[in-house]
């Protein structure tokens, strides 16, 4: 079941060459470790781009959005495999 969340989150990310990978994020006082980034896509946000990361931990899928203009992260969607 997919749930729309759209809440601001805090993220620890690594920057490698010209790419960025979220490693951990905290949401509702819980810390989630990103096991794998499966897919990255972009969407237009006026003149700039938003970066969407499709990531998973052991049991959940999350879509995280990074806005490079405001340097903010949002948890947009989640899917629980349980």
């Amino acid at each position: 079941m997919y749930d729309k969340i759209n809440e601001s989150i805090e993220v620890v990310a690594s920057f490698k060459k010209s790419e960025i990978f979220p490693k951990f994020f905290s949401w509702r006082r819980k810390i989630y470790k990103v096991d794998k980034v499966h897919f990255i896509h972009t969407s237009q946000n006026g003149k700039g781009l938003l970066y969407h990361f499709s990531v998973t931990d052991k049991v959940n899928y999350f879509q995280l959005i990074f806005n490079p203009l405001t340097l903010t992260w949002t948890l947009s969607t989640m899917y629980n495999n349980g």
Binding site: H38, H41, G46, K47, H52, T56, Y79, N81
Partner: protein
């Protein structure tokens, strides 16, 4: 690309891989599935199936709304991979493209190796779960035929005319590009029931029955190249339109006007981004009761238009002046007879496109709907961005 939208979703979320997945235009029971995963097809859920029907066929089906940005990103990436091999490239649709390898590959073995390389690069550079079928042949039509009929993630070549009959004997007339059920009926009427019968049919009979398209069809199945790769400009559609399947079926004209305005806003924006003017407008709608004929009107304009307001005012007049015979299921609006914008001043001032252009400019910088007219207040959830298979933008 195979089961494109669904496979991209499975690439993004590994927990839905190997499961029946339906990507929908809308999740409401009346919404329809625009792409089913390979697993969903196996349980009988095909593209076009209604959400409520899909739930009956497989109650645990995973349904999700389509996410055009995901598919556009993948399309852009696999188009880039293809064009790194040859500039002779035609982006046929969101999930399909042609590449002319003449001069790049010297024989079929070399072409096969390049195709394998492309397939591997798609998996490495975009996503390991993505699957594509690649057909290789000496005409555009035959390459598409091969890619359409081979298995998922397969690469096959049709190398010469000698192989044609053998390939064709395994497939139906409607398996080939350009033959739908209606055309099949017309071919049946002149005694053609198989692709091989079509291939062997006297060309005069086909021309007599179908006109010029009869010749094209005959040439294609006989392996004659009559087509060419079209570039982006040639592929631009001759009309621009948007439609919306209203989730809550209604006769409420105030609501329908809001939908119409949102659709017209998108039509106008695309028209202006192509730097074109429209000389015709169409509007049509269908009713919930399929037995009642939907209503549509197409009309040519005396002057070319480009602003959202003018297009909307002309279209909404049709809606206002027509009595609705039932609740509306789907509403569509569009423009046709498109011509390049010129700076010729009109003797009679019919529209001022400056406001529309200014709004476009602001939204292009600050994001869609950063500024919009009051008519669009609280229409965020109405007629959101959707994508069709034949669209590449």
């Amino acid at each position: 690309m195979n089961s494109y939208f669904a496979t991209v979703e499975q690439q993004a979320n590994p927990f839905i891989r190997g499961k029946p997945v339906g990507v929908c235009a809308y999740l409401s029971n009346n919404g329809c599935i625009v792409a089913s995963s390979i697993e969903a097809k196996k349980v009988g859920i095909k593209t076009g199936c209604l959400v409520k029907k899909a739930k009956q066929l497989y109650p645990n089906i995973i349904l999700l709304e389509n996410d055009p940005n995901k598919y556009r990103t993948v399309t852009k990436k696999f188009f880039n991979i293809m064009t790194s091999y040859s500039e002779d490239f035609e982006p046929y649709s969101i999930d399909e493209a042609f590449l002319d390898l003449t001069g790049v590959a010297h024989d079929y073995d070399e072409a096969f190796k390049l195709a394998q390389e492309m397939n591997i690069r798609i998996k490495q550079e975009i996503g390991s779960y993505l699957k594509c079928s690649i057909g290789i042949s000496y005409t555009k039509f035959l390459a598409k035929f091969v890619s359409d009929v081979i298995g998922v993630d397969e690469i096959r070549s049709l190398k010469s005319k000698n192989e044609l009959s053998q390939w064709f004997e395994r497939y139906k007339l409607t398996d080939i590009w350009g033959i739908n059920i209606k055309l099949e009926e017309r071919l049946n009427a002149i005694g053609i029931y198989t692709i091989n019968e079509l291939k062997k049919s006297p060309i005069q009979n086909l021309i007599q029955a179908l006109g010029k398209p009869g010749y094209f069809l005959w040439a294609k199945v006989n392996g004659l190249e009559i087509d060419y790769l079209r570039d982006q400009d040639q592929l631009l559609s001759k009309s621009i339109g948007h439609s919306y399947c209203v989730p809550n079926w209604t006769r409420d004209k105030k609501y329908l006007e809001k939908v119409l305005y949102k659709l017209t806003h998108r039509v106008g924006k695309r028209l202006r981004s192509r730097d074109q003017l429209a000389q015709g407008i169409y509007i049509y709608w269908t009713y919930v009761d399929y037995s009642i004929q939907g209503y549509g009107k197409r009309f040519k304009l005396k002057t070319s238009v480009t602003s959202t307001e003018v297009i909307f005012n002309k279209a909404v007049k049709v809606l206002r002046d027509t009595e609705l015979k039932d609740k509306v299921r789907m509403l569509a609006v569009g423009v046709f007879n498109l011509v390049p914008r010129n700076n010729q001043l009109s003797l009679f001032i019919t529209e001022d496109p400056r406001i529309s252009r200014l709004v476009d400019n602001i939204n292009n910088v600050y994001g869609d709907y950063a500024i919009h007219l009051g008519r669009m207040w609280k229409t965020e959830d109405i007629a959101r961005d959707r994508i069709g298979f034949r669209k590449i933008d």
